[in-house]
Amino acid sequence: MGNMDIINAIVLLLNYIFIPALTYGSQLALGAIFVTLIYGILRFANFATGDMMSFGTMVTILFTWYFQSLGISLGVLPTALLAIPFAIIFMILYMLSIDKFVFKYYRTNKSPPVQLAMVSIGVMFVTQAVVRIIIGPSDRRFFDGEKFIIKAREFKEMTGLNEGLALKSTQVLTIFVTIVLVSLLFWFLNKTKTGKSMKAYSDNEDLALLSGIDPKRIVMITWIIAGILATIGGALYGLDKSFKPFTYFNNMLPIFAAAIVGGIGNPFGAFLGGYVIAFSEIFLTYAYKKFFMYILPESMEPESLVQLLSTDYKFAVSFSILVVVLLYRPSGIFKGKVL
């Protein structure tokens, strides 16, 4: 027992809880902002979220393959980074055409939100079919370049600790890109005229229209931002883990949970909601046995795994948080729209 043990314990938590949760949280946060923007401005729950993200990732993968076949690469960085801008353009076109052919009709008819949500289920089926027909349902990895920034073994040799700290380049990339993207987005929403008019439109549609805001432009910009968020969020998740259409469909659920926990319609809440969900999932399902072995004296070492919930219940954790939030604070932790 000494200082070493405490540092070991901290490194252990960093390695297995903090960094993975921060990465996963960033991926959820991007999706949650996407959901929240659509909800705030277009006023419906978009059940096609997961599949739209998988569509964007698919296009990224196709471009990555194309660049790889041309022999273009970014060296230590994944080629996918080069593919993302092209994928975004493609994705925006896809989003705008879906809006034109599907959602616009219901918006102009002022259909109730439920009907739009049902329509989004139709879009979900179609997008899922398109993705599976083009790229297939199987698991795909499209990461290339340098996998680790720090390897666990190197870290141990470097510091002389028992615990290794592995830092994957995709983790750093995810966190970095998320911070940049989200800062840009908040700058856009809070400081530019267009962003402010979007907020006004979200708060009170009639008032916004009276003050001369063009709804068509607002809707178009919303879909463009949504396309950017969906592509980048999906691609980062795929780079970090792997791309599988079914997983993306399932990710819709924690993303929804994050958006609602943060207060739906509130982009900043959604951003934090992603981390709330990710951290609580990992906190509650991590086995703390090794951690306590470091910080407690030998006589008090725990026999069991000291795990609050088995990892099988990872998803269930985030959904339970959502249920609790819905019960006690239906507008979310950070005060979104009251539904």
């Binding site: 139709g122 997008t127 099988d312």
Partner: protein, 456 residues
């Protein structure tokens, strides 16, 4: 008669389609489609009375289906004595703890006024209770799961005929709906949809991972049947005679005696599985007809009128003295119970329970497509939706294959694009469902058979 013409026409077309499958593919395929159409119809009826009668969105259909399936397991499987000996006591103790916990919380809720301190107390009781139960049940659960894990490893059930589970499944699902309804029904429509979807995922997670109760992803196979087994039928005299009589025309053409016997055997094997499926069809048809009569009666009763009034104008109905909250809860339970019946029927037909197979795409969203396409608020429409959508779901692949071959007829087989398309034929069913849903919602938003309210 005239006003029901579209109903009759729609159902006739559907029956002709299934008959065509029987003639051109095989009667086995046709009957298995028909049976699943009937089960889907029960599910859509459940969703329809929630959505069509009361305007409540329930995206948790998957969870209720799975609970119905669990009922089938718990009713029909013989109890595993060893497991009960190994860990039954611990499980019963945990059950007691849960009951005590619920009672304590109820007591606190009733006794004290709403305040922050009360909320914290309840949260503390729930958390410590869950931890206590987890640690006290742990050894029992491990002991149970260690009992012959390849075959059992769970407590088993009651060893009763599986048909009872159809009723028990309804109670299971209704019970869950009661809890969910108490928690979530106050939410607005899209929130309710998301909340029910996520709660159903929690239910599936529990069923998948509580092996001591459900065997989890190890699946339960070989459930008892309410219908005879094919193998038994194939050696029963009256059945062989029946098959012989049915196919006497074809058999008489064969003069060689051993050839004739071989052909007859072939017919008997085919006939036995058709016969078993017919038994199920009969049972399912009885359920569908009973439910149809009940739901129709309810729809045109004063209660049905009240539900529509609540759906169309909640505030006005409330002002007229109708208890909206109570009625919403009631209809939420009733609809979910019907879905629970369907879940038990499904497991009964398959003879196996596979928790891993419950996915929202198949058991929630597809059912919703059925309700919307068929016509919400109209029971005949909901049933028709179940039939049409399930039929297309199964037949989408052959149809897509046919279309691909038709449009790419000039392209050689070796063409990469054509080969890729043919390889991805199974996924065209999603495309067909999505486009179908979008087209119906756009051009016939009330479904194929729209709701019509007759004022008598």
């Amino acid at each position: 008669m005239r006003k029901n013409l579209n109903v009759i026409a729609a159902y006739s077309i559907m029956m002709v389609l299934i008959l065509l499958v029987g003639i051109f593919q095989s009667w086995n395929v046709a009957l298995s489609i028909f049976n699943l159409c009937l089960i889907s119809a029960v599910m859509t009826m459940g969703a329809n009375i929630q959505w069509g009668y009361a305007g409540l969105i329930n995206f948790g259909i998957m969870g209720y289906t799975a609970l119905g399936g669990l009922a089938a397991v718990l009713i029909s499987v013989d109890p595993v004595q060893e497991a009960w000996k190994a860990g039954g006591f611990d499980i019963l103790m945990s059950l007691w703890l849960i009951i005590v916990m619920v009672l304590v919380i109820r007591f606190i809720l009733k006794r004290f006024e709403k305040s922050k301190i009360r909320t914290y107390w309840i949260a503390a009781i729930i958390i410590s209770g869950v931890l206590l139960i987890r640690f006290s049940a742990e050894p029992g659960i491990e002991a149970i799961e260690a009992v012959d894990p390849a075959k059992t490893g769970f407590l088993g059930g009651f060893g009763l005929p599986i048909i009872f589970s159809w009723i028990v499944g309804a109670f299971f699902a209704g019970g869950l709906a009661f809890i969910v309804g108490k928690v979530a029904l106050g939410l607005r429509a899209d929130y309710l949809a998301i909340a029910t979807l996520l709660i159903s995922e929690i239910v599936i997670a529990i069923i998948k991972h509580e092996d001591w109760l459900t065997r989890g992803v190890k699946n339960v196979i070989g459930l008892k049947r309410p219908a005879p087994y094919e193998v038994d039928l194939q050696s029963t005299d009256w059945f062989i005679n029946l098959v012989e009589k049915f196919n006497s025309g074809k058999l008489d053409l064969i003069s060689n005696l051993s050839d004739r016997q071989a052909t007859l055997n072939q017919f008997v094997i085919e006939g036995s599985s058709v016969f078993v499926k017919l038994c199920y069809s009969g049972l399912f048809l009885v359920v569908v007809i009973i439910l149809l009569i009940l739901t129709q009666k309810a729809l045109y009763s004063p209660w049905g009128r009240m539900m529509r009034a609540i759906r169309d104008n909640e505030e006005a109905a409330n002002a007229m003295g109708k208890n909206v909250v109570k009625q919403h809860l009631l209809i939420f339970i009733l609809g979910s119970a019907i879905v629970g019946i369907a879940g038990a029927m499904l497991v009964t037909q398959d003879g196996l329970f596979t928790p891993g197979s419950y996915r929202p795409m198949r058991y929630t969203f597809l059912i919703w497509v059925m309700v919307i396409v068929g016509g919400s608020g109209n029971n005949f429409g909901a049933i028709l939706g179940g039939f049409v959508v399930w039929f297309l779901w199964i037949e989408a692949a052959p149809i897509a294959l046919f279309l691909i071959n038709f449009f790419t007829a000039g392209i050689p087989e070796t063409n990469a694009l054509k080969a890729h398309l043919i390889e991805s034929v199974p996924y065209f069913r999603f495309l067909m469902m999505g486009l179908g849903l979008l087209l119906i919602m756009r051009y016939r938003p009330k479904g194929i058979l729209p709701e019509k309210i007759e004022i008598k």
